[in-house]
C-alpha cells in the first residue's frame, strides 16, 4: 500500500516523498517508542532486563562466569562486536574450562523474540514449553536484553491486580 500512497502524494504536488518500506511492524520490532492505545501495553521489550550479563566473542568462559555470578543469574549472553546476539551460556556451559573462549562453550540457536512481542501470549508459550528465559533482540539481531519468566509473570500480575 505504501508505494501507492507515495506515488499518490507526488501526484498531489509533494516534492520530497519517502516510502518507509519496512513499516510500522519493523519500527516496533526495533523497540522504538510509539503512540496510541496499545503503546502502554506490556511487551517483551518493556519487561526484559537490559542489564543482563554479557560477554563478547573472544572473551573467556571465566569472564562470563564471573559476570553471571555477580548478577546472581545463571546466564550470560554472548554478543559480537556489532552487539549482535550470538548465543548464551548457562548451567554447565558456564562451568566449562574458564580459559575457553565463550564461542566454544555457548549454546547456539536459542530462540529470540522482538521487543514488540505482546507479553501475555509470550508468557503462556514460555510456561507451556517450560522456558524460563528468552532473549530479546531487535530487528537487526542486536541484543536488547533477556526476559525472565518470573519478571514477566510479576508484570502481568501487577497489571491485573
Amino acid at each position: 500500500m505504501s508505494p501507492r500512497a507515495a506515488w499518490r502524494l507526488e501526484s498531489l504536488g509533494f516534492s520530497d516523498v519517502y516510502d518507509f518500506v519496512p513499516g510500522k511492524a519493523a519500527w516496533l520490532a526495533m523497540g522504538w517508542t510509539s503512540e496510541g492505545e496499545l503503546a502502554g501495553s506490556l511487551t517483551a521489550g518493556k519487561v526484559a532486563r537490559k542489564d543482563i550479563p554479557s560477554a563478547r566473542i573472544g572473551e573467556t568462559v571465566g569472564d562470563a562466569h564471573r559476570r553471571a555470578a555477580e548478577s546472581g543469574l545463571d546466564l550470560c549472553l554472548v554478543v559480537n562486536k556489532a552487539e549482535i546476539y550470538m548465543g548464551r551460556l548457562r548451567g554447565r556451559s558456564l562451568e566449562a574450562d574458564p580459559t575457553m573462549p565463550v564461542e566454544m562453550a555457548m549454546e547456539h540457536g536459542s530462540s529470540t523474540v522482538r521487543p514488540s512481542e505482546p507479553l501475555e501470549g509470550l508468557v503462556k508459550r514460555m510456561t507451556k514449553h517450560a522456558v524460563d528465559s528468552i532473549v530479546v533482540s531487535d530487528l537487526k539481531g542486536r541484543l536488547i536484553g533477556a526476559l525472565l519468566l518470573p519478571d514477566a509473570q510479576q508484570a502481568l500480575d501487577s497489571l491485573s491486580g
Partner: protein, 67 residues
C-alpha cells in the same frame, strides 16, 4: 519518483523534521503508530486530506510492513 527509506534512514528523516503519514485504517492507527504520525488512510489520500501539510517538506508514508 518517491524514495524508499529503511530502518537505517527513518530516524534521520524524522529528526530532520519529516512529516509522517500512516495510511492504515483509523482503527489500526489509534491502536499504535509512530510518534508524531498523522493518519490518512490510503483511500482518503486526496487533495483535501493533505491540504494542511507542507508539500515542500520531506514526507514519509508507511503501512504495516512490506505490503
Amino acid at each position: 519518483m518517491p524514495n524508499e527509506v529503511g530502518i537505517d534512514g527513518i530516524q534521520r528523516l524524522i529528526h530532520a523534521g519529516a512529516q509522517l503519514i500512516e495510511i492504515l485504517p483509523a482503527r489500526e492507527y489509534s491502536e499504535e503508530h509512530l510518534p508524531g504520525a498523522i493518519n490518512i488512510p490510503l483511500k482518503s489520500l486526496t487533495e483535501d486530506s493533505v491540504s494542511d501539510l507542507d508539500r515542500a517538506q520531506p514526507t514519509v508514508v508507511y503501512c504495516w510492513d512490506y505490503q
